[in-house]
Amino acid sequence: MQEQVIMVSSITYALKSQELLQKRGIFSYVEKTPKELSGRSCGYSLIIRDTARYEEAVQLLMSYDIRILRPREGA
């Protein structure tokens, strides 16, 4: 199954995001952002398996003022 990645800036935002998504029934797991996505920057990502809800997940997190990083942001 293809997974979708939501990149955030820190572990705190990743865990906060995970909880917000979980309350909405969107399950994710937290990983260090892969280098091919992060460039040289450090950060954490949420891996969303239910790709159909990816956009919903992004919008939800943005509504909570969580900054979603673009791939290679900070490189």
């Binding site: 800036s9 820190s10 572990i11 705190t12 935002y13 865990l15 906060k16 909880e19 937290v30 990983e31 260090k32 040289r40 920057s41 450090c42 950060g43 954490y44 900054r67 900070g74």
Partner: protein, 402 residues
């Protein structure tokens, strides 16, 4: 040993704190927020859960506003030095601990800021407020208030002071060193911009833990920079919270212990804890007030107006001599100046200091009764020594006369 020094730190800690920390040593030994392996993520989750609990307990706007520090002093320094700029004016109360006074005073000695000291009036909030208000200037940036004095236990009207501060567009910092885990604190309702507290006092966490909660973290100058596990390739400190104010590895096991301590406090509930502690403190206060040889420095203890903290002296004894005698009798109290010269100036004890008794959740009324009986014995002993001294002097004078 009967421990009456909870204002310094609480002991014992709840069993759950010890168990939580022990489990942490075995299971959560990784560095949170640095690596990507499973143990690092799980450890980070423990830290995050403590942050969440604190944010909820103190009504912070967001979990990211919760910053872990090594103690309350660090939290105070980060806020005070972080928020103040050249030319700012600060108002503090006359009961502040050195952890507020010293950073403020240092900044003033450096010519960076000026500060004023507001008077506190026991059982008269309006006068206390007017004192703060009378000191407000056009350049007042920050008002600081201890929620409760670590020496005499007087509680300040922080909600009203917060309202006053915000009505003038001034930021408000509360030193909750003695009140976090005893009195309810709602940052939103009380207009608190910076809330500083130790983890190791009435939150029953271990030493080496402290907390700063603020919505203004992103506007603060940092006093420490370093590795945060985020934005690693940038030479500058991240601007987002809590990373901006949390450089280096946090005290993971301490935070896990703090989480359990906070859970203990929540389960017991603040009203139950406060009532229990005040019942014991009030009993002791009442007994001491009936002993002519004991000097007290506040009126009778009142719920909401006092913390379970009593400052006292025994006539004829230096305060540290009193606490040393009590130590030999099996009681742990603190004598001297309690890192709070302003409070001693307020109490009129700048020359002699005071003995301080501070109650915690694990103290009992039986301990209080035993203490009061032993104070009577100490008074008798002190009077006997004084009387013997007087007799010696009389005899000596008579011999010299002859």
């Amino acid at each position: 040993m009967i421990y009456f020094d909870n204002a310094a730190t609480t002991t014992p800690k709840p069993e759950s704190v010890l168990r939580g920390m022990e489990r942490g040593f075995h299971v959560y030994g990784a560095n949170p927020g640095r690596s990507g392996h499973d143990m690092a993520i799980k450890t980070a989750k423990q830290v995050f859960e403590c942050r969440e609990m604190l944010a909820d307990f103190f009504h912070a706007k967001d979990v990211s506003n919760v910053v872990f520090t090594q103690n309350c002093t660090q939290a105070l320094n980060e806020s005070i030095k972080g928020v103040l700029r050249q030319g700012d004016h600060v108002i503090i109360s006359c009961l502040e601990h050195n952890s507020v006074l010293r950073p403020v005073h240092k900044l003033s000695l450096e010519g960076k800021i000026t500060y004023s000291i507001a008077k506190v009036f026991e059982n008269d909030d309006e006068r206390t407020l007017r004192s703060y208000e009378s000191l407000i200037r056009s350049n007042t940036k920050l008002i600081i208030a201890t929620h409760g004095s670590n020496v005499c236990g007087l509680v300040l009207p922080i909600q009203k002071i917060g309202e006053l501060a915000h009505s003038h567009g001034i930021l408000f910092l509360v030193d909750a060193a003695q009140s976090a885990g005893v009195l309810p604190i709602d940052m939103q309702r009380m207009n608190i911009d910076f809330l500083c507290m130790p983890g190791h006092k009435s939150l029953y966490g271990p030493s080496g833990t402290g907390v700063l909660i603020t919505d203004h973290g992103e506007t603060l100058d940092t006093i420490m920079e370093g590795g945060t596990g985020s934005s690693s390739t940038e030479y500058t400190q991240p601007e987002f919270m809590p990373d901006k104010l949390e450089s280096g590895t946090v005290n993971v096991f301490g935070i896990i212990g703090l989480k359990e301590g906070l859970r203990y406090v929540r389960q017991k509930s603040l009203p139950v804890i406060y009532k229990h502690e005040m019942q014991i403190a009030s009993y002791i206060y009442t007994q001491l007030s009936r002993m002519p040889g004991v000097l007290l420095y506040t009126g009778p203890l009142k719920m909401g107006r006092n913390l379970p903290v009593i400052a006292f002296n025994i006539r004829g004894l230096d305060s540290e001599e009193t606490t040393e005698q009590l130590n030999q009798m099996g009681y742990a109290l603190r004598g001297g100046y309690h890192c709070a010269p302003l409070a001693h100036e307020y109490m009129g004890t700048l020359e002699i200091g005071a003995a301080r008794l501070s109650i915690g959740a694990f103290n009992t009324i039986e301990q209080a009764k035993r203490f009061c009986m032993d104070i009577k014995k100490l008074l008798k002993k002190t009077i006997s020594i004084e009387f013997a001294g007087m007799c010696d002097r009389i005899i000596l004078d008579m011999c010299n006369f002859v």
